[in-house]
């Protein structure tokens, strides 16, 4: 009897230890990746790296200025498309919880969330690249905007759902029309949740490569024209990492380092904000 109990307690202990071990083992690859990329990348980053264009193989002092500018422009453009659209759709879903349109629309948001990014790239290719007659940065922005939408819509809807009805009713009782209730009372109350959703969406698309492969395409030169192919950070990393040249690998390591810091900083910043404002996402 005593032995049996000891065996059971021992078994429980063993499994507890195993769980703790496995749980912390998950973090190990992330730490390895972080350390490796910081080690390989930080030494490559200097002023030249940020302001120069990539040089041909063999020449020293190439940089990634075109990719930095391109990434920022593409992401800004995608945000301009996706943020108003996503917030409005989120407002609709939270204001009309039970209507049939809301049901189908919510279903579509769920579907969109699961669509592989490469498929969105294909679709953007047929919607914009073909009709416009060539690869363009704007088509990449649209593809990324489609990827941002579900995250923004979901976070807006979830945040606004949590607001008490009394808030809305108090605003209506003052005689405010619907649009002012939404824009002046409900959205400002939920702005922290909405903003953190937006930031998460930006962090997610900042590292997306697949939808840009056939839309923004990449460009070894500086370009400010949204109708022309444009370089972006993930594309640069992909192209240079799979190339056989060490010089280009160095560029890719530096770019990975910047991209990683950028994306992680956005994520951590969002987490801190949600913690501070007690938003549930």
């Amino acid at each position: 009897m005593a032995n049996h109990v000891k065996y059971r307690i021992g078994k429980s202990r063993v499994f507890q230890g195993l769980t703790i071990l496995l749980a912390f083992a998950c973090v190990v690859p992330l730490i390895f990746i972080l350390i490796y990329i910081l080690q390989a990348g930080l030494t490559k980053i200097n002023w030249q790296f940020l302001t120069n264009l990539p040089k041909p193989v063999g020449e020293k002092g190439g940089g990634i200025a075109n990719a930095l500018i391109g990434s920022i422009m593409i992401i800004l453009c995608a945000s301009v498309i996706a943020i108003p659209f996503g917030i409005l759709c989120g407002i609709y879903l939270s204001e009309n919880k039970k209507s049939r349109l809301a049901y189908w629309s919510r279903l579509c948001v769920d579907i969109l969330q699961g669509v592989p990014s490469i498929v969105i790239g294909i679709v953007a290719y047929f919607w914009l690249v073909k009709p416009l007659g060539g690869f363009s940065a704007i088509s990449g922005s649209v593809a990324l905007a489609i990827m941002m939408l579900p995250i923004i819509i979901r976070s807006t809807e979830e945040t606004l759902k949590l607001l008490p009805d009394s808030l809305r009713e108090a605003a209506y009782a003052l005689g405010m029309p619907f649009h002012r209730v939404v824009l002046k009372v409900i959205v400002p109350c939920g702005i922290s949740g909405i903003m953190s959703g937006v930031m998460l969406a930006v962090a997610r698309i900042a590292g997306e490569t697949a939808p840009l492969l056939f839309t923004a395409f990449g460009n070894p030169y500086m370009s400010f024209n949204m109708m022309k192919p444009m370089q972006s950070m993930p594309l640069l990393i992909f192209n240079y990492a799979t190339s056989p040249y060490n010089d280009w690998h160095d560029l890719a390591w530096g770019a990975s380092c910047i991209l990683l810091i950028w994306v992680l900083a956005l994520n951590i910043f969002t987490k801190v904000i949600t913690r501070k404002w007690k938003v549930q996402l």
Binding site: I20, L22, A23, W104, V109, L112, F238
Partner: protein, 330 residues
């Protein structure tokens, strides 16, 4: 201000003829006239705003339907030329216009399921650790946030890291077990995928385990069950649909993952002989060959791959989400 204008409307409406209404309006001060106009304008804006919201919600449906229709229409050419045998055709030869997706479907399934098998113990361990053993405290909190950050790292960075670090390790591992030391291949991409999909099952599993009623657990403890016995015979059975849904969501993620896999899988159109040989997944074929597709049937065959991928991931995601929502509503 709204109140007053409403008042005026109420008092004027019972008037028998329109003239009287006008006279009431005329006798009222200029400022109240302005108020009426302003309130009408607001009602109009309100209607416009409502309509705009409806249009935006409709746009979402149109967007998703548009994606489906685009994929379906663009892949008809390939479907016409090969029919359903496209799915089990064993050769993919763009030069001879023979398109069989079997090697890629097999590659996708192999990498995804292998990744799932590798990642499940880890993600369940995280879920149990955070949901049952240590739900609060700074260390579990740190672990939770760090695990969530795993999902935030861009996939192209995973790919690059895999290429530089994991491939040599796998190569030496392959030498030691006596298979051809290629390094790149299905096994390497499964490893990378396994790391990438841990957070999805883990965070869902954690919230599910949190929701187990404590009286169930306490009843088991009072019968003399140990911690592990409670986990195995109370928590796991109670949350099994939720845990399964988490696994499905990470499977959906693994199936559609493109960049990391493309960089380390080796990209051959041959049928993989073992889990160590190079192969290709549906997503990586599209990424590699889409811009090189020079004739319509080739392009259409690639899009058909995209359509298959789309349908499979959508079904898996929908089933997973349904299971989660039915679990949380119970």
């Amino acid at each position: 201000m709204m109140e007053q204008s409403v008042d005026i409307k109420v008092t004027t409406r019972p008037g028998k003829d329109a003239g009287r209404v006008v006279s009431v309006k005329k006798t009222s001060t200029v400022s109240s006239n302005k108020r009426i106009r302003r309130s009408f304008r607001q009602i109009r804006t309100e209607n416009v705003f409502r309509r705009m919201l409806v249009i935006v919600a409709l746009c979402m449906i149109v967007l998703v339907l548009g994606i489906m229709v685009t994929l379906a229409v663009q892949s008809t050419l390939s479907f016409k030329s090969a029919g359903f045998s496209y799915l089990w055709g064993k050769t993919w030869d763009p030069v001879r216009d023979v398109f069989g997706a079997y090697p890629f479907i097999l590659g996708t399934l192999l990498t995804s399921f292998l990744a799932l098998i590798i990642s499940i113990p880890f993600s369940f361990a995280v879920a149990v650790f955070l949901g049952e053993y240590y739900p609060t405290g700074w260390l579990p909190n740190l672990l939770k946030n760090t695990v969530e950050l795993i999902a935030a790292v861009p996939s192209v960075i995973y790919g690059f890291w895999g290429l530089a670090v994991l491939v040599p390790i796998v190569r030496s591992f392959e030498t030691s077990i006596g298979v051809e030391p290629v390094g790149i291949g299905i096994f390497t991409s499964s490893l990378i995928l396994a790391i990438m999909i841990i957070p999805y099952a883990a965070s869902l599993g954690r919230s599910m385990i949190h929701m187990v009623p404590s009286n169930l657990k306490e009843a088991a403890y009072s019968l003399g069950a140990t911690r592990w016995e409670v986990i195995r015979s109370v928590i796991f059975p109670y949350t099994k649909s939720g845990l399964f849904a988490g696994v499905l969501l990470s499977l959906g993620r693994a199936l559609g993952e493109t960049m990391a896999v493309t960089m380390v899988i080796g990209n051959t159109s041959l049928i993989p002989k073992s889990i160590f040989s190079p192969g290709n997944t549906m997503a990586s074929v599209i990424a590699n060959e889409f811009t090189e597709a020079d004739h319509p049937v080739y392009l259409s065959a690639l899009i058909e791959l995209g359509l298959v991928l789309f349908l499979v991931t959508v079904v898996i995601n929908m089933v997973g989400k349904r299971m989660v929502s039915s679990f949380t509503n119970e």
